[in-house]
Amino acid sequence: MAHVVAACSTCRPFTGGTTQFEVEAPNVRRLIAELDRRYPGFGDHITRRMAIAIDGEIHQDADAAPLAPDSEVYLIPRIGGG
């Protein structure tokens, strides 16, 4: 079970305020699909607006990135830069 945290307030409207989830998923794509199943529309929001930190490493557009059973996954706003 990956432990998922979505602390960013833009996620709350989708999750009804819930910020932490336990998700069974082998990779990021499945994780997003599962969260979208639980909270319709959330998947699209994650894909468009969020980056995903897996065990401390930030990924953007990384559907295939594998998740360990005990992975710590953070959904954070996408980062740009100058």
Binding site: C8, T10, R12, E57, I58, H59, R78, G82
Partner: protein
């Protein structure tokens, strides 16, 4: 990945990476031959110019272009009516997700002008003089509306509304009426009240910063040619030719494949050239005129109509134990977004406490639209503003606690294994090493004269990865060309060539890098976010490694041994089979026989780079203040930063020195000044006061190298972190010099003299 993870362990014997060769594009740039945005010309080219709103906020009642169209020499006039009326849609291409409708409306106002300088119409004519005359003949009828620019005024319930359809995002309950607050974001951890209850010392303060401009010396410029068959060419100065292509296609309803964008040399960007202003307009004019159109902004236009970064209010409440341990932090950030949503307050919130290990905190950010130019990314977008508040407050807290400000930072410093305030757990960071470097630097303990003061401050930036493509092609003589899709703003061609040379075992002079147009290389995200050396460098390295694998195969074929019996050492294939006595095969030798060993030698790699390592910076600043005139002199500046590994140390140092100089300008004199009617009063380099050579001392960089295991050579982004600490480093030094805390930037002489007199 793993095979070059080993490499980065074994990078001790690097031959090219870490040296300081002359940049491959250098000669063109010191002889005036380099072609920047405004230097390109085409036969039959017209001059395009933009008519801009003189009002900060006004309804556009009508635009009559008949007289202008009738003027001899005028070939095209466009208004918003000539652009598709796009639906509101977030789209990923430039800096995070841009709203295409907003982007379109920023390029050409539709129905409403939202800031002084907002484009309302454009002309293309046979000469600059005729184009100017035509602009004067365009009759625009405005209904002037009340405007609002100050961020807190704009947040007030009774403030003039910029967008009737804008409802605040991120609130628990969906709001029932529109607001200038586009979004409220919040980051929380632990129990704030319990945290402050544990505190022996609580500090509360409010800080403000003014809107400042990126200040690149090259104004925006482009040439656009719309073909009769719908195929378009654009030459422009930007941070990303693919970004220009995508936005032009979306804003004009064209196919990406019909637009070929060639990047000109870019005269500075700092984030300000990560979006489009002129290119879609130039294409629209060219389509009507049937001729190429060149558009070049004046400096006044650059200030009035292109991205500054936010003016802001930062409210900070810190709680600490008597020993300096931070136990609670409550931070509120209010950022101007300009005419459309999208201030960097999100990154501001995430970076605000990134250097500190605080168990209980709440960071609340407000993204607020105002009647000023839409903000654009500016070097570590959002972070310097938040850091000015936090680092000033930490300095005050140190005074209250009677602690050394650096010791206070060290005590609360994030380390590997600590959960960052924005969520994830830090790994392979070099923050403590960076703090130690300035603590141990002679500067930190050097004596000061009366009237002088010393300040320290720290800063953080994520750095990003993302999509990049690189191709490496070997010539018949064994030399190589590296092709990437990232404009070279500050010497990245050199870094790309060096990484390829390192892997291939070639001297740097035998590797030539080029930046290709959108038709000649695969997609690459723009140059920004300190991603190019990391992400594009990763693509270049992998392409070179693919070539090495292929070269070993070719040598094995020639020697009739197994590929595992061939190694690649110092640019040559070496036979490991002891029973054979083959002389080594150099790259040149293999290239000469390439036709018979499988054809031309080359490889292309497209990837999405993950695992960019964050950058941490710690700065020391000494100032002297003239108590009678309020004038601040920067006496000495030292800047330490974890850079992972410096590919070309001289250009890494240059990034740090440049970031510091911009930060000092932000701290001392730079600001957008608006008159009562919301018109910018200082839209020029005379009164928008950026640092000149005589304003600054030498800036001493200290490179800390804590390698990033996800990059083949250990590189981390370096371009942005250096602009984060200087705002507070200067303010803290001024505090030490005059004994008064200045809470509002810029620290211009009138403000400092007034603060001294007020004591």
């Amino acid at each position: 990945m793993s095979d070059f993870l080993d490499r980065s362990e074994a990078t001790l014997d690097l031959k090219v990476v870490g040296t300081r060769p002359v940049r491959p594009d250098g000669a063109d740039k010191v002889t005036g031959r380099a072609t920047f945005g405004a230097d390109f010309a085409m036969p039959g080219m017209l001059v395009g110019k933009i008519k801009r709103s003189p009002h900060a906020h006004a309804a556009i009642v009508s635009i009559d272009t008949r007289k202008a169209r009738a003027l001899a020499g005028v070939k095209a006039v466009v208004t918003a009516a000539d652009f598709p009326d796009l639906a509101s849609e977030a789209y990923e291409a430039g800096e995070g997700a841009a709203n295409l409708r907003d982007l379109s409306l920023n390029c050409m106002a539709r129905g409403k002008a939202l800031y002084d300088g907002h484009a309302v119409a454009a002309v293309a004519a046979t000469s600059s003089v005729i184009a100017d005359a035509a602009l004067d003949m365009i009759e625009v009828t405005y209904e002037v509306l009340a405007h609002v620019i100050d961020v807190e005024d704009a947040m007030a319930p009774d403030a003039p509304l910029l967008h009737a359809h804008l409802f605040t995002e991120g609130l628990e309950a969906k709001p029932d009426k529109p607001s200038n607050i586009a979004q409220r974001n919040r980051l929380t951890r632990g129990d704030l009240e319990a945290g402050f209850a544990m505190a022996d010392v609580v500090l509360e303060a409010r800080y403000t910063t003014a809107a400042v401009h990126q200040g690149y010396i090259e104004p925006h410029a482009c040439v656009a040619a719309f073909g009769a068959d719908g195929q378009c060419q654009v030459w422009s100065s930007s941070q990303g030719q693919f970004m220009v292509r995508t936005y032009c296609a979306k804003l004009l309803g064209l196919e990406s494949s019909d637009i070929r964008v060639t990047p000109a040399e870019i005269g500075g960007g700092f984030g300000g050239k990560t979006t489009v202003y002129l290119e879609p307009v130039a294409l629209a004019l060219s389509r009507l005129a049937g001729a190429p159109v060149k558009m070049v902004m004046s400096r006044e236009e650059v200030f009035r109509a292109t991205g500054p970064t936010s003016g802001a209010v930062i409210e900070v409440k810190l709680g600490a134990r008597a020993d300096g341990t931070l136990v609670a932090a409550d931070v509120v950030l209010k950022y101007q977004a300009g005419a459309f949503p999208g201030s960097p307050v999100g990154a501001g919130s995430m970076t605000a406490l990134a250097c500190y290990d605080v168990p209980n905190f709440r960071v609340t950010g407000f993204d607020v639209v105002t009647n000023s130019p839409k903000v654009a990314a500016y070097r570590a977008p959002g972070a310097p503003i938040a850091a000015f508040g936090i680092e000033s407050a930490i300095d005050e807290l140190a005074l209250k606690l009677g602690m050394d400000p650096l010791a206070l930072r060290m005590k609360n410093a994030v380390r590997d294994g600590v959960k960052a305030a924005y969520g994830p757990t830090f790994r392979n960071i070099g923050y403590v090493e960076t703090l130690e470097a300035i603590q141990n630097h002679p500067h930190y303990t050097a004596p000061l004269e009366p009237g002088q003061g010393r300040g320290v401050a720290v800063g953080f930036w994520f750095n990003i990865g993302g999509e990049s493509t690189a191709a490496v092609n070997v010539g018949e003589d064994g030399t190589a060309v590296v092709v990437t899709g990232n404009p070279d703003i500050g010497g990245s061609r050199a870094a790309m060539a060096m990484m390829a040379a390192e892997v291939l075992g070639l001297p740097i002079e035998k590797v030539r890098p080029i930046v290709a147009d959108t038709a000649a290389i695969g997609f690459s995200m723009l140059t920004g976010g300190s991603r190019t050396t990391f992400a594009t460098g990763m693509a270049v390295t992998q392409a070179a490694q693919k070539i090495v694998v292929d070269l070993k195969r070719r040598a094995a074929q020639i020697w009739e041994v197994g590929a595992d019996q061939v190694d690649w050492i110092d640019g040559a294939a070496v036979c490991l089979d002891a029973s054979k006595t083959h002389p080594d095969l150099t790259l040149a030798a293999l290239a000469a026989r390439s036709a018979r060993t499988g054809g031309p030698i080359g490889a292309q790699v497209s990837l999405t780079a993950q695992g960019a390592g964050p950058g941490f910076a710690a700065h020391i600043c000494d100032v002297e203040v003239d108590r009678e005139t309020g004038h601040v002199t920067i006496l000495r500046y030292t800047a330490a930063q974890d850079v992972g590994r410096a590919i070309h140390p001289a250009y890494v140092e240059g990034q740090i020195q440049g970031g510091v100089a911009q930060g000092i300008g932000w701290a001392l004199n730079e600001e957008y000044i608006f008159d009562r009617d919301g018109r910018m009063e200082n839209a020029g380099f005379l009164d928008y006061r950026m640092p000149v050579a005589s304003d600054l001392p030498m800036i001493e960089p200290i490179l800390i190298e804590v390698a990033n295991p996800r990059h083949p050579f250990g590189a981390k982004g370096v371009g942005e972190a250096p602009i984060v600490p200087p705002l507070a480093a200067v303010a803290n030094a001024v505090r030490a010099a005059i004994g008064v805390r200045m809470t509002g930037l810029p620290l211009s002489p009138p403000k400092i003299r007034a603060a001294i007199d007020a004591r």
